[in-house]
């Protein structure tokens, strides 16, 4: 069985640990992290406000990209280390995506032949725990569009990690 884990940084290590403990037998663990380009775009939109002024310096743009890539590598590295530590003997593959997380993950799933994808349905801010918005928009999109089974783990959200 090939199982994909959506590692977004909040509790990714725990997600891997729980997937390995509950789903099995797993032949390949596919770790994926998507760099959300939304905040990066915000910075450039904010700059646009200064009509005719300077642009963001190249070294700052490079630093922004590098920090995101380093963060992604760190998240996936921690998750892979956790899998090894728990004694997982199968294949571990890591993938960094760029764009809107929900869409990129679904597109990626279509190409990876994963049997299942696991994620924390992180709730968006200001929502009711009940009803159609009980899970975040990323999880909702993946549930609706993923070409494989979807495993939602009612896990520790960031509010409980404090």
């Amino acid at each position: 069985m090939r199982v994909a884990c959506c590692c977004d940084g909040d509790g990714s290590v725990e997600l891997v640990e729980r997937v390995l403990g509950r789903v099995g037998p797993i032949r390949a663990l596919l770790l994926v992290h998507c760099i959300d380009l939304g905040p990066d775009r915000d910075v450039h939109l904010i700059q646009e406000r200064l009509l005719g002024r300077q642009h963001i310096a190249e070294r700052h743009q490079q630093a922004m990209t590098a920090s995101e890539e380093a963060r992604a590598a760190e998240i996936l590295g921690d998750a892979a280390a956790e899998a090894v530590q728990t004694g997982f003997g199968g294949t571990i593959e890591s993938q960094v995506l760029h764009g809107r997380p929900e869409r990129e993950i679904v597109h990626w799933l279509e190409t990876t032949a994963a049997d299942a994808v696991a994620l924390y349905p992180r709730p968006p801010a200001r929502q009711s725990p009940a009803g159609p918005r009980s899970i975040g928009h990323v999880a909702r999109y993946i549930v609706d569009h993923a070409p494989c089974d979807v495993l939602l783990l009612r896990g520790p959200g960031p509010w409980r990690l404090r």
Binding site: G38, P39, V43, L51, G52, R53, E68, A70, P158, L161
Partner: protein, 412 residues
């Protein structure tokens, strides 16, 4: 037409081209006489020098790693608390805006804070938005905090004491409101702590410690001279240009000066854009259009409360429809045509507050953004700017209303 092209920028056309083309057309058809056009440009030499000096100061200080160092200090002082980091970003943004203008905060501090937040594993939006908002909110703390202030105060010279009496309380209140609303809006994102250990990974930006210290000392001295210049009503453009020249000399002595890189950091098209806009506004003034616009500013009557509300609202709307720089150029001319008499100072202050705070409402403070957002939505693309609009809609009207009220109270 020139303004529409400036706002929509088809094919990424530089703003300077339509502005200068429109200005040339005005002169060619006789809407503005060459003498008037020349006068319009020469009378704003202080603004041009200010822009040039400011961009040079920011570029050299950024190369020296001053802002990276300040942002790291802000992170260290937060002692791992997300909420305290937001507060520190606000304080740093306020200080940077006060002395180096809103441009420096938006263009330099924002990407640095984004990088720091990402490395700490924090959601960057609260911190990035803080930079963007405080760049406007704190931009009337001092007469040099926003080029628009320089523009308006050049035309309507106001003593620094009067500036502080009227605008310091407004500014402090606006910053406080902004901070409180952000702490409430982003309460979930800024809850908890982060690992400061990751600080080691962040470049310290102090490869040349002597140059770094020299630039820091120079910036402090410049800040003091700015205040002195504002108090004595010396042209702040001259101070900025001299300070920028001094920093270039320091960089040359330290062997870090690259004319090519420095030239890249300066937006030369801005000068063309402002020059074109100045001639276009002169044309509008000669045609009596700004006189008609003055009626808008007189809608509030002659009472202090009416003048305060009308000027703040007009400038804020103008800033959101055509961007605050062109709006301020038009309003600067319109104020001269009002029959406000003794209320001219209040009108100038109200315009300054509206033009500085107003852009917080929309992402670029212009009609083009809104239309652009609509186009993106039709294409089903992510519109992160909608998030900005949501935040802006919550914080800006409160700030504008309270600012107008305080402006009225200090003018009674």
């Amino acid at each position: 037409m020139a303004l529409l092209l400036v706002l929509f920028r088809p094919r990424q056309l530089s703003e300077a081209i339509p502005a200068l083309a429109g200005a040339a057309l005005f002169v060619l058809v006789g809407a503005v006489s060459p003498r008037h056009a020349g006068q319009a440009l020469l009378s704003h030499w202080n603004l041009f020098l200010f822009f040039l000096g400011l961009m040079t100061i920011a570029a050299v200080a950024d190369t020296a790693g001053v802002f990276d160092w300040l942002a790291q200090k802000a992170a260290l002082l937060s002692r791992g608390s997300r909420r305290r980091l937001l507060l520190n970003v606000f304080v740093l943004g306020t200080v940077m805006t006060a002395f180096l203008s809103n441009d420096a905060t938006t263009l330099i501090l924002t990407p640095i804070v984004f990088t720091l937040a990402t490395r700490f594993g924090l959601p960057p939006r609260p911190y990035v938005f803080s930079c963007a908002f405080v760049a406007n909110t704190a931009s009337f703390l001092l007469p040099v905090s926003n080029p628009i202030n320089v523009l308006l105060l050049d035309r309507f010279p106001i003593p620094l004491s009067s500036y502080f009496v009227h605008l310091l309380p407004v500014s402090v209140l606006a910053i406080a409101i902004n901070l409180v609303v952000f702490l409430i809006l982003f309460r979930r994102e800024v809850r908890g702590n982060f690992r400061l250990a990751r600080m080691d990974d962040v470049a310290a930006g102090k490869a040349r410690p002597i140059f770094f210290r020299l630039v820091c000392a120079w910036l402090l001295a410049t800040a003091g001279i700015y205040v002195l210049a504002a108090a004595r009503q010396w042209p702040v453009g001259l101070v900025a240009a001299m300070s920028g020249t001094g920093l270039i000399a320091a960089a040359w002595l330290a062997g870090t000066l690259s004319w090519h890189n420095l030239a890249k950091e300066i937006s030369w098209s801005l000068f063309g854009f402002v020059a074109g806009m100045l001639i276009l506004v002169q044309g509008l003034e000669d045609a009596g259009i700004t006189k008609a616009l003055a009626r808008l500013l007189e809608l509030g009557g002659h009472s202090a409360s009416g003048v305060a509300i009308a000027s703040v609202a007009t400038a804020a709307v103008g800033a959101n429809v055509i961007n605050n720089l062109p709006a301020s150029l038009v309003l600067e001319s319109a104020i001269g045509h009002t029959g406000a008499g003794s209320q001219t100072t209040l009108l100038a202050f109200g315009t300054l507050v509206g033009a500085d705070l107003g852009p917080n409402l929309t992402v670029v403070g212009s009609l083009s953004t809104m239309l652009w957002l609509l186009i993106l939505r039709r294409r089903d693309l992510e519109v992160s700017a909608l998030e900005y609009l949501r935040v802006g809609a919550m914080v800006t009207p409160i700030m504008l209303l309270c600012s107008a009220a305080v402006l009225w109270l200090t003018s009674r």
